[in-house]
């Protein structure tokens, strides 16, 4: 019995290590690419070269990298904050105060999510121009803070929340908003952390819509810059790899920051108390 158990264990670890290698290998290649010249990257060179400094210098002098990073950070920061407030309130409203009327609204919203964005670009663009939000970061933020995706996700995870806790708080005389902010949110930290990571990624990597409403290089975000860099007759792959690595770092940092909430079950531990 004991032996059988350990064989299973070994198989599990073999599986984990294999998946680990598959997941991580392309990142090694990306970082190696950062240190090589364009020609070497195209040739598929897998070892480290000595072009890193020159790639970084090119990136920060030829392209306005600092400003572009700040643009991305600004847009993404406000978007994530907005989503966490607006969309999580909506998810809470739909799940906790379930009513037939709101269910119909919910069904409609979910259906909306299925419309491909390309089909909506032209009317949405007209709207943005009429609201004088063309070429502004606020236009970008405003259009993304009501995220059907996050509302849907949070509502599905809120289903696991024991309704009795809310009932108990009401009996204690707590107001509805107080229950939401000081009882509900703290006990759903892992779901909020996931929502934060996902909205950060979505906003940081957003491409099609920022492309349409941001008109000048001054307003550009990182993703837009990488895309225009890689479309050259002769792309500078080393510099592009550097830009990609730098653009990926913030997401990794955010993930590290939030992932501690995945380590222990929040609800589980709060119930135990």
């Amino acid at each position: 019995m004991k032996k059988n158990y350990s064989i299973n264990r070994i198989l599990v670890y073999v599986f984990l290590v294999f998946t680990f290698i598959v997941s991580v290998f392309p990142f090694y290649w990306m970082v190696a690419g950062m240190t090589n010249s364009a020609v070497d990257v195209i040739k598929g060179k897998m070892t480290f070269g000595n072009q890193m400094l020159s790639n970084i210098t090119t990136l920060f002098t030829t392209y306005n990298m600092v400003r572009i990073l700040l643009n991305s950070l600004k847009v993404t920061g406000f978007t994530v904050l907005g989503i966490l407030i607006v969309s999580s309130m909506a998810a809470y409203g739909f799940q906790i105060y379930s009513s037939p009327a709101r269910e119909k609204v919910y069904g409609l919203i979910i259906l909306f999510m299925m419309v491909p964005f390309i089909a909506l670009m032209i009317p949405l663009f007209r709207l943005i121009v009429k609201m004088h939000l063309l070429n502004t970061h606020s236009g970008l933020v405003l259009t993304s803070i009501a995220s059907v995706f996050i509302i849907f996700f949070l509502r599905q995870s809120f289903k696991a929340f024991p309704y009795e806790i809310i009932q108990a708080a009401r009996v204690d005389g707590a107001g509805e908003f107080r229950i939401f902010f000081s009882i509900f949110i703290p006990s759903m930290k892992s779901s909020y952390a996931a929502a934060a990571i996902y909205s950060f990624m979505a906003s940081w990597n957003a491409y099609l819509w920022p492309l349409i409403i941001l008109q000048t290089d001054k307003q550009k975000t990182v993703t837009l810059m990488i895309s225009s860099m890689s479309s050259a007759y002769f792309p500078e792959w080393g510099v592009i790899m550097t830009a990609i690595v730098i653009a990926t770092l913030p997401i990794i940092i955010v993930f590290f920051g939030f992932q501690k909430y995945f380590v222990q079950g929040m609800l589980g531990s709060s119930l135990k108390q």
Binding site: K43, F125, T216, F234
Partner: protein, 426 residues
């Protein structure tokens, strides 16, 4: 007496100064010209150079050049034009030649008519034709996609071929040479994307034909040039002289790695060829191979683009003046962008400049730009029509079955034609 003279002199001087000031003020142009373009290593720095030159004479004119991916420029332009809102449009935009007619015909009135503003007789004929609709010309011709056969002299010498053997050949001869190269050096003759329509376009234009007839009707199944191009494509694949590649960077890597002996494409590839410094002095350029049918010539074109001014933009007239002064007047500018970026313009007066007749060490001392300039004049003028990309898609959907021999070339053409007609009559 003297005093009076002096006073007159002062008055005259003052008058001159004042009038020259007011004169300068009345003609000094000001405003901000906004431009959308793609390629940070080619079009963008070239436009920046042009902007600097113009700003030197017109210090009150500023430029806002927005750098985007090619597909993104097209996308933004479509969205802006289709939504009927002019607020977001730039003054000048770069449009690929294959797409020009599509924009002109689907957005009537969107682009400024430049017929009387620019001296078009100074530009390559085939290029002007592409931007003409109902007798009016709407763009300022920019870079040429004149094609050539770039080859590695070291590999070809090993296979027993000299420069003369590569000029003015047919594709059949090209394949024959390729087999010899493969046999003697073990290298492939060219990198070849099975779904890349580039060579097909080169072959078609060299025969003066396109996927459509002069009236714009679909012309696939009864098109001799296309049938021959299909045959050639299949022959090239069957002959085993290719290195199969997928996508742009793999294709570039094939010649940068020294895996292939030649490249047949537009002149703008020079920057990429030269990027592999180790092979300097081992390259040369010959004329484009031609199809084995009557009327085909050893000159063709792939790609190339031009500048267009938006009719409803804020600084339309200023933008036109800018393009006219630099792109249709500054010979020195064309020398500079040729030297710095390898950009071959289609402004004919510029081609007698010093940079065009320079010997290039990388190409074994060949005067490549002189040669390319000569070939430009031989490119057959054709009308790309408005459905080139639809035609491409229809043709290359059936190509895998042609390669594998599953269907005959005649059937494939028939099938592609049906598909294309379907697509157009949506």
């Amino acid at each position: 007496m003297l005093k009076r003279k002096f006073i007159i002199l002062v008055v005259v001087c003052l008058f001159l100064v004042v009038s020259s000031i007011t004169y300068a003020e009345s003609t000094e142009k000001s405003g901000e010209i906004t431009i959308w373009s793609w390629d940070p290593n080619f079009n963008i720095p070239i436009m920046q150079e042009a902007a600097e030159r113009y700003a030197k004479d017109n210090p009150k004119v500023t430029f806002e050049i927005t750098e985007l991916a090619k597909a993104d420029v097209e996308q933004k332009l479509h969205i802006n034009l289709a939504s009927g809102v002019t607020a977001g449009l730039p003054d000048i935009v770069l449009i690929e030649d294959y797409n020009a007619q599509k924009y002109l015909q689907s957005y009537p009135g969107a682009f400024a008519d430049l017929t009387d503003k620019i001296k078009f007789s100074d530009f390559a004929n085939y290029k002007v034709g592409l931007m003409t609709l109902d007798g009016k010309v709407y763009g300022v011709p920019f870079d040429s996609g004149v094609s050539g056969l770039f080859y590695r002299t070291d590999y070809l010498e090993k296979a027993g071929y000299k420069s003369e053997d590569l000029n003015n050949i047919t594709w059949d001869k090209f394949i024959e040479i390729g087999k010899k190269v493969k046999e003697k050096t073990g290298k492939a003759m060219i990198g070849f994307g099975l779904d890349d329509g580039g060579l097909m376009r080169i072959m078609m234009q060299s025969a003066g034909k396109w996927y459509f007839d002069d009236k714009g009707n679909v012309n696939l199944s009864n098109n001799d040039a296309l049938k021959e191009a299909f045959k050639t494509y299949k022959a090239i694949v069957d002959s085993g002289i290719i290195k199969k590649t997928s996508g742009w960077s793999e294709w570039v890597a094939a010649f940068n790695n020294g895996d292939t002996a030649s490249v047949v494409t537009g002149v703008w590839i020079i920057g990429s060829v030269k990027a592999d410094k180790a092979s300097s002095g081992k390259w040369k350029v010959a004329t484009t191979p031609r199809l084995n049918i009557a009327g085909a010539v050893n000159a063709s074109n792939l790609g190339g683009s031009s500048w267009y001014v938006l009719e409803n933009s804020k600084n339309r007239d200023l933008a036109i003046d800018f393009l006219n002064q630099i792109y249709a007047g500054d010979i020195d500018f064309y020398q500079k962008i040729l030297m710095d970026r390898g950009a071959v313009g289609t402004y004919l007066p510029a081609q007698s400049g010093a940079a065009y007749s320079k010997e290039d060490e990388f190409f074994s001392g060949q005067k490549v730009y002189t040669d390319f300039s000569g070939w430009i004049k031989a490119i057959p003028t054709i009308n790309y029509g408005i459905y080139t990309y639809e035609a491409d898609a229809a043709i290359f959907t059936v190509m895998p079955d042609v390669y594998s021999g599953k269907i005959s070339i005649e059937d494939a053409l028939e099938k592609a034609e049906e598909q294309l007609k379907d697509q157009i009559n949506r």
